[in-house]
């Protein structure tokens, strides 16, 4: 067997047809590029979600409005509870939970949307009423100033801590057009993540230190509030605090119409009592509600829900990969079949000069295989480069490319190459030399 000769001939064949080969390779390149980048996005999304949802600590319990359904296998389907339902949870419920044994803190959150005004700027913002524990429980760091104290909370102090985006928008730092106050509510007043990316890329970034709202008065619902702190940007999707204005819950109850809580975070005194407290919290709430219109969720249940999100992402990924492979695979096969046809005479000549069927077969098989591997490697390299560029420029949302994905992509290009290489190789090998030489 002259495998090495066939391999050398394949390399040479590719090289002497390099322009055609390049165009054939684009399919694999794009396919593998897509697989790599999409994997990185999917895993990045998963990790981000993990950070965000998993920010519920192991010793914390989340109380949400709405009833979480139990799935067939007895697990709680937390995603079903994420759809918005009118909340019946009240501040009284939260206060009652404080008396449950082994409860360390209860952090209720009221939430509404309202207009916030500073100078000539008016923007729409999420207003959150909560306790002094919020920044700790939500892992929200302060960029400037301070968070409100327990004393301020119970004194119904008119103080607010603003999210990073709200802060910059009120100071007119991020070029967001002023909203029409009488306009529709769904206009995006605050900066979206992609706008921030754009700013970042354009270098249009203004440091928060230059100009600060701390110590200034802003107006919400015709009442004046003093800004005492600014939350640091926090890079989680969805529940980011960047677009929030946070005030003491006592203040919120008297200055707004809000009554019902969007969620409560119950902190237990230790990990060992979580299960026990979970039941007690449920019972305490049930005693004050006519029906079970709330949910009590622990971290492990949250992680179970994340598992579901992850499996959806995985199914998506498999789908994308299979599509990419199918497209690039058929593309390569077409090109190789064409190449075999065009080189009929070459095949005839080689056979006349003593090439065996096996040698011809291996020559074309290796050509396809190499084409796929080289194309795959280029696609992987390009994908990797894009991910690197993204990650070194954009902090909001990190793309994560695990080694297994690179290996998988490489193995798959070998697999497609092998699979798709069989047909053209057999076609080439089965040509009769006497006929092939007559081919014009």
């Amino acid at each position: 067997m002259k495998l090495f000769t066939a391999f050398k001939l394949a390399c040479f064949g590719l090289w002497s047809n390099r322009y055609r080969v390049l165009s054939a390779m684009t399919g694999v390149v794009i396919g593998m590029f897509a697989v790599i980048v999409l994997t990185a996005i999917a895993i990045g999304v998963k990790d981000t979600l993990m950070k965000q949802m998993g920010s519920l600590g192991a010793e914390q319990i989340l109380v949400m409005p709405g009833r979480v359904l139990d799935t067939a296998n007895g697990q709680k389907d937390i995603l079903s509870g994420l759809t918005s339902v009118p909340s019946t949870l009240t501040y009284e419920d939260a206060l009652a939970l404080k008396d449950v044994p082994n409860v360390k803190t209860v952090t209720p959150q009221l939430e509404t949307v309202n207009f916030v005004n500073y100078g000539d700027k008016t923007i729409q913002s999420a207003i959150v009423g909560t306790t002094d524990q919020y920044s700790r429980v939500q892992h929200a760091k302060l960029a400037e100033g301070r968070f409100f104290t327990k004393e301020e909370q119970f004194a119904e102090a008119k103080v607010v801590v603003v999210g990073n985006n709200i802060h910059d928008s009120l100071l007119g730092k991020n070029g967001v057009p002023e909203p029409e106050v009488n306009g529709s509510a769904d206009v995006e007043e605050t900066k979206t993540w992609w706008k921030r990316i754009l700013d970042k890329l354009l270098g249009d970034n203004v440091s928060a230190q230059e100009n600060s709202l701390v110590g200034q008065m802003i107006t919400i619902n015709k009442e004046s509030f003093e800004v005492i702190g600014v939350l640091a940007p926090n890079a989680t999707l969805g529940s980011s605090t960047d677009n929030n204005v946070v005030m003491p819950i006592e203040t919120a109850l008297v200055t707004t119409e809000m009554k019902n809580l969007t969620k409560m975070i119950v902190e237990t005194s230790s990990l060992e009592v979580v299960d026990e407290v979970d039941g007690a919290v449920f019972n305490s709430l049930a005693a004050n509600h006519s029906e079970i219109d709330f949910s009590v969720v622990k971290q492990d249940q949250m992680l179970g829900a994340l598992g579901k999100v992850t499996s959806i992402l995985q199914v998506m990924l498999v789908g994308i990969t299979v599509t990419a492979l199918f497209i690039s695979g058929t593309g390569i096969m077409n090109v190789m079949v064409m190449s075999v046809r065009e080189r009929t005479r070459e095949i005839g000549i080689r056979k006349a000069l003593g090439a065996t069927t096996f040698e011809i077969m291996m020559q074309f098989f290796f050509e396809t295989l190499l084409l796929c591997i080289i194309g795959g490697a280029i696609g992987i390299g390009l994908g990797y480069a894009i991910i690197e560029v993204w990650n070194s420029n954009i902090e909001i949302f990190a793309l994560v490319l695990p080694m297994w994905a690179v290996k998988l992509a490489l193995y798959t290009s070998v697999a497609i190459g092998s699979l798709v290489g069989i047909y053209p190789a057999l076609k080439a090998a089965s040509m009769k030399p006497s006929k092939a030489l007559r081919f014009e």
């Binding site: 002259k2 000769t5 001939l9 002497s16 047809n17 005479r345 070459e346 005839g348 000549i349 080689r350 056979k351 006349a352 000069l353 003593g354 090439a355 065996t356 069927t357 040698e359 009769k432 030399p433 006497s434 030489l437």
Partner: protein, 219 residues
């Protein structure tokens, strides 16, 4: 060297069966130079392909250098073709994206002998054909006569006992025809057996013996 006994070959296209060779008998001695003439479509190329083991006969016997080719398995036939037979075709049949040197080297790459020392033989042959300075060029940069000399060098590189030429001068003008024919003379003098197919009586007359293919038989 060559012995054909009652060789038959037909082609089938659709349900139309055309019998091209209807009992060909031929004996060529070692070192003999034989020309085969015949009208276009009379089956000359078909016969040459059988002699060159590029195709298999339907019936009859073919012995080459004492071996029964018609009984051989494909693998053995391929080796015999590589080691014992050199082809020269009307349309040169050079591989366009290989250089002159690489084209001549081809039979050696498929041979069983080690390549290393054989490269010298390629250069010697190219030198004999006056093509040494063109060894790195692609075939499409050469004239017809040069192309055919590359093809002859390639046919000779494995030192085969039998040279089969199918209208080797069919695409050449008179002057180049003469130069190619003198190459054949030289190869013949060195002891090779040559079977050449031609339309051209002048070409055929250089051979020791002229045969005609007519109605599927040799006369």
């Amino acid at each position: 060297m060559i012995e054909l006994k009652d060789v038959r070959k037909h082609y089938r296209s659709g349900n139309l069966k055309s019998e091209v060779l209807r009992g060909v008998n031929l004996q060529v001695k070692k070192g003999e130079y034989v020309a085969i003439m015949g009208k276009s479509g009379s089956g000359k190329s078909t016969m040459l392909n059988l002699l060159g083991t590029l195709d298999v006969l339907d019936a009859g016997e073919y012995k080459l250098a004492g071996k029964s080719v018609h009984k051989m398995r494909r693998g053995k036939r391929v080796r015999l073709r590589n080691e014992e037979i050199g082809f020269v075709f009307q349309h040169f049949q050079l591989i366009p994206n290989l250089s002159v040197f690489q084209n001549v080297l081809l039979p050696l790459t498929y041979g069983r002998k080690r390549l290393g020392k054989k490269k010298g033989r390629v250069l010697t042959l190219l030198d004999e054909m006056g093509l040494l300075d063109k060894r790195n060029q692609k075939p499409d940069r050469l004239s017809g006569g040069e192309k055919q000399r590359v093809a002859i060098a390639r046919a000779l590189v494995n030192e085969p006992g039998l040279i089969l030429a199918d209208e080797p001068t069919g695409s050449l003008d008179e002057e180049t025809t003469e130069s190619i024919l003198s190459v054949f003379d030289r190869v013949h003098e060195q002891g090779a057996t040559i079977v050449v197919i031609t339309h051209d009586l002048e070409v055929a007359e250089r051979a020791d013996r002229i045969l005609r293919l007519h109605n599927g038989v040799l006369v």
